[in-house]
């Protein structure tokens, strides 16, 4: 009784307890973000290696890594990656061009808003995957329809953010600019668009992940190249290791697209950080 009470007091006042943790702290701070993913991988590896799961359904991380390493030295991976990138980038930039353009036209005049806004509101909720058959019929099953489908998916976040961005500019800031002599075109290029840039670039960033998501979808539905095709093709022939390796490549693609967009956003909006 006496001893246990003493132990309790000692545990809440750890004065003379040697703090071993302090030696590991720098290492911990550097690696804490990787801790849980690495733990998951280790557990996964152990489960497969112990034979709890059939590696045919779920290959061990090491064998996926080995497969991926093998793929790096084949043309297959690079040709497919090139095709995928080409589609995603074309679709994305097409959407960026039209999204910002249409957004600006809509906010330019009340008449254009009345004309275009209902169309945007009607088409926007339609799932991208629902209109894929239409695109295939109209533009064939080649790259044109794939690029257009990706563009359709990326278009809406960009156009909506552009509209919201310009509409959200403080009316008093516009008056301040006008009192300093800004009008017409200069008011747009020097005040409205720069003010809306944070919103517009958020739309552009959201769209990057849309482009990869949609890319995978269209490539799995109908394609004879691309990483999405590689994955679905591997599944069809039960090459599960290759399938997992392909999925890893797609994840990396999505991740790096987002990072790239974030980098661009920070570069453009360095002034905006403190707000």
């Amino acid at each position: 009784m006496d001893n246990s009470a003493k132990g309790f007091v000692q545990s809440i006042i750890p004065i003379d307890k040697p703090d071993l943790f302090i030696y590991f702290k720098p290492l911990y701070l550097k690696t804490k973000k990787f801790l849980s993913p690495v733990m998951c991988l280790v557990i996964w590896e152990l489960i497969v290696k112990m034979g709890i799961i059939n590696p045919f359904f779920c290959p061990a991380p090491t064998s996926i890594a080995k497969e991926l390493y093998g793929l790096v030295f084949t043309n297959e991976l690079w040709i497919n990656l090139y095709d995928s990138l080409f589609r995603a980038v074309c679709g994305y930039f097409l959407a960026a061009l039209f999204g910002v353009g249409v957004g600006l036209i809509v906010v330019w005049s009340k008449f254009m808003e009345d004309l275009i806004d209902p169309l945007i509101e009607l088409v926007r909720p339609v799932s991208t995957f629902a209109v894929i058959p239409i695109f295939f019929i109209w533009f064939g099953i080649g790259d044109v329809s794939k690029v257009l489908i990706i563009a359709k998916a990326c278009f809406f976040p960009i156009v909506l953010n552009t509209i919201a961005g310009i509409k959200g500019v403080d009316p008093k800031l516009i008056q301040a600019a006008r009192s300093l002599g800004a009008k017409g075109f200069a008011l747009w290029t020097k005040v409205l668009i720069p003010s809306a840039l944070p919103m517009i670039s958020t739309g552009l960033r959201v769209a990057t992940s849309m482009s990869v998501t949609t890319l995978v979808g269209v490539e799995m539905l109908s394609a004879d190249s691309g990483i999405g095709f590689m994955v679905i093709d591997a599944q069809r022939v039960f090459a599960t290791e290759k399938m997992f390796a392909g999925i890893l490549v797609l994840s990396a693609l999505g991740f790096s697209f987002d990072r790239l967009a974030r980098l661009m956003q920070n570069r453009v909006l360095s002034w905006h950080k403190g707000i």
């Binding site: 403080d170 008093k172 800031l173 008056q175 301040a176 600019a177 006008r178 009192s179 300093l180 002599g181 800004a182 009008k183 200069a186 020097k190 005040v191 720069p194 003010s195 840039l197 909006l269 002034w271 905006h272 403190g274 707000i275």
Partner: protein
């Protein structure tokens, strides 16, 4: 001397979202001479700020005649500049770029507008902050930038809408003194809307008292305190008498 800004029977009516008419100003008549410092006070919502927006050409009037520099006001005039309570700087521009905004729009060559900007940065006491962004500055400093930005257009008329309303008392006093200095250096006319009676008396040649809505000029009180003015005047009997008199005028309107 002919009047520089001439408002005769100016009216302004706004529409609210139910399309009902809200009269803000009615038969507002005021004549301002060149290089005069006019302060406008009145109860909240009396339309004193509306008058500034009309004079700046930012909003159309709905009745009467408003002439600036001999011409009817139809839109923003390069010879007039407005300073707002909320500073309204461009957050993506540095202090220097903010101040260069007006000259840039008038296609003043880069070298020249840089020189102008630096001149006004020094005038408002912001030397060393040329490359700072607005969000890195305190409220008082931001308002200095805003004043410098207005001055960079070399305006003949500066319209100030409660410019020091959001600042703490000490910053406010400092900026009042500096504004008077700047006004004397820049030789411009100032129309200054404020809620503070002592500020109105301290700065003005004439104080315009506006009635409650719809706003009309209730009385114009010439302030006969000597210039240059100093802080000592705040406690002088004459100053206190002006304050008391103006306060009574406004209280009649509430």
């Amino acid at each position: 001397m002919t009047s520089f800004l001439e408002a005769s029977k100016v009216s302004k009516t706004y529409q609210d979202n139910k399309n009902q008419d809200i009269p803000a100003l009615l038969n507002f008549t005021l004549s301002v001479k060149e290089q005069e410092f006019i302060t406008i006070i009145g109860p909240s919502g009396c339309g004193k700020s509306s008058f500034l927006f009309l004079a700046a050409g930012l909003e159309p009037l709905t009745g009467g005649v408003l002439k600036f520099n001999g011409r009817s006001v139809t839109g923003p005039d390069p010879l007039s500049a407005m300073v707002f309570q909320e500073y309204l700087l461009f957050p993506w521009k540095t202090v220097q770029e903010n101040i260069e905004f007006g000259p840039e729009l008038r296609h003043v060559p880069k070298q020249e507008r840089r020189k102008t900007a630096i001149k006004f940065i020094n005038m408002v006491g912001l030397g060393g902050f040329e490359d700072a962004f607005p969000n890195e500055l305190s409220g008082g400093m931001q308002q200095r930038v805003s004043i410098a930005r207005a001055l960079a257009n070399s305006p003949k008329l500066i319209l100030m809408d409660e410019p020091f309303g959001a600042l703490d008392a000490l910053t406010r006093e400092t900026l009042q003194i500096e504004l008077l200095k700047i006004w004397q250096q820049a030789k411009c006319t100032v129309l200054f809307v404020t809620h503070s009676i002592s500020e109105a008396v301290y700065l003005a040649d004439r104080v315009v008292v506006v009635s409650k809505r719809p706003g009309t000029v209730k009385e114009i009180v010439p302030i006969e305190l000597a210039r240059p003015r100093d802080r000592e005047m705040f406690t002088s009997p004459m100053f206190i008498e002006y304050e008391r008199y103006l306060k009574n005028l406004i209280l009649e309107e509430i």
